[in-house]
Amino acid sequence: MLINHRRVLQFPALLFLILIAFPVFAENAPSSYKPVTVPNPATDLWRAVNPQQLPPAEAAMFPGGDSQVQGVQSGVLINQLGQRWRHFRMGQLLPTGSYLLAGAMLAILLFYLIRGKVLIRDGESDKKIERYSIYERLIHWFMAIVFLFLGFSGLILLFGRSLLLPWMGPELFSALASAAKEGHNLFGPLFLLALVLVFLKFVIRNIYQKGDLTWLLKGGGIIGKQDVPSNFFNMGEKTLFWLLIIVGGLIAISGVVLLFPVFGQGRDIMELSHVVHGIAAVVMLSVIIGHIYIGTIGMQGATEGMTSGYCDLNWAKDHHSWWAQRCIDEGKVMPKQQGAAVHHDNPAPAEAEK
């Protein structure tokens, strides 16, 4: 309706300007145009055909038509929102989305070049702490795999026509896009499940608390070299969690609306859902690019917690010092055993034991 309001406002404004500029016209205008007294009934017909072009108050007077063909909105002759949706997807989501994703990757690359890998300050220790249980690791990787699959299959639908189609050819690309669509539809609901499981398991540790603001202000101890204490999850991880829950939740809900056209939702609702789905997906993917970087090549010792379930004591002291201290106090620190922690820095497990 935005465009229409603007148009409605523009006309009187223009008229006003003209009237001010040419007082002669203003006086002559009424005498040269005689208003027609016979109303043209066809105008009502065409208003009803395309009620979305009217201001909302008037549109309510023209509720569209009826059709013998049963179906959601089969009585709507012209759905103008479709054109807006087209411009959103082709003119906004596609270019902005590609800039955002490319920008995120570029930013990570720059960060890596400037800051380099975040190393454990005192190097790796010979002690470890249990960080994630089997179940916690399971739901994390479940979500990660489902998310990445949905991300890639969705991106094929969004960017495939411009990036893949030209060199794959229509038949091959159609097969790929079809698989992407079917896979996306099939795995979509699993993302919702993963989201619920992750939420229930991790929500308590992700409630913001005192010290989180300080962490933010000090750049998480990653920018600069200060020691910034935090609990099991630091401010950055908590923010990732809540982004995942909120933005991911929007993705999941809008996805389900798009997936099952059986709730009687019309095109307007589906177009809106697609807008939400598209924006949220691109935003979440950009955030996850950062998460994957810092969880793997960006930080020494970060991946272990989620793979083996144990993290290095010195890593914990660097990034979660309150939690590390609590583990030390509670006697939860244990020596690294053979096989449990084999590192590239240690040439042989036998030597590491010493």
Binding site: N40, P41, A48, G65, G82, P170, M270, H274
Partner: protein, 209 residues
Amino acid sequence: MARMKFYCDAERCIECNGCVTACKNENDVPWGVNRRRVVTIKDGEAGERSLSVACMHCSDAPCAAVCPVNCFYTTDDGLVLHDKDICIGCGYCFYACPFGAPQFPEDGAFASRGKMDKCTFCAGGPEEDNSAEERRKYGSNRLAEGKLPLCAEMCATKALLAGDASVISDIYRKRVVNRGASVLDWGVSYENASLRSSKGVQGKATMEE
């Protein structure tokens, strides 16, 4: 080169749904799919009008713009057709189309979308003209036989016109000019109503003939 168009004369359509039935029959359209429908505005009130609508074969077709696999093509006759072998049934063309033309047969569980189906202007698809393959996927190809779409050919009141745009507009222009009285509503003729465009009427008034 011809540019094919549909036009539905709101002064003539009597909502008999003959075009809808003709289309379904001619093209063996799957269950639940309606390539054409008649919409009645102000049903049962003064000024009731009906219009038959299908794919309008847009020049800058929104469906073709948003299709993620680019399966639409425009024929030399200006018809917007699509390739069902390429279509993945995502539904985007249905979101973008102003007229609700793309239809989806329910395919499998949870009403998931099958390959899109829509009006072809009785011109089939990319397969060889009138081949069995084309018939199975798209219905009939009357254009290849030199015939016009069956919906318009069947229309009892000749409200629905189909054919070369310039011919269609000539026919309609003549109708407008020759229809003396009660063209728009009881007691109002074009002659009176269109001397000056009244508020809300878009387009130009014509003084021809």
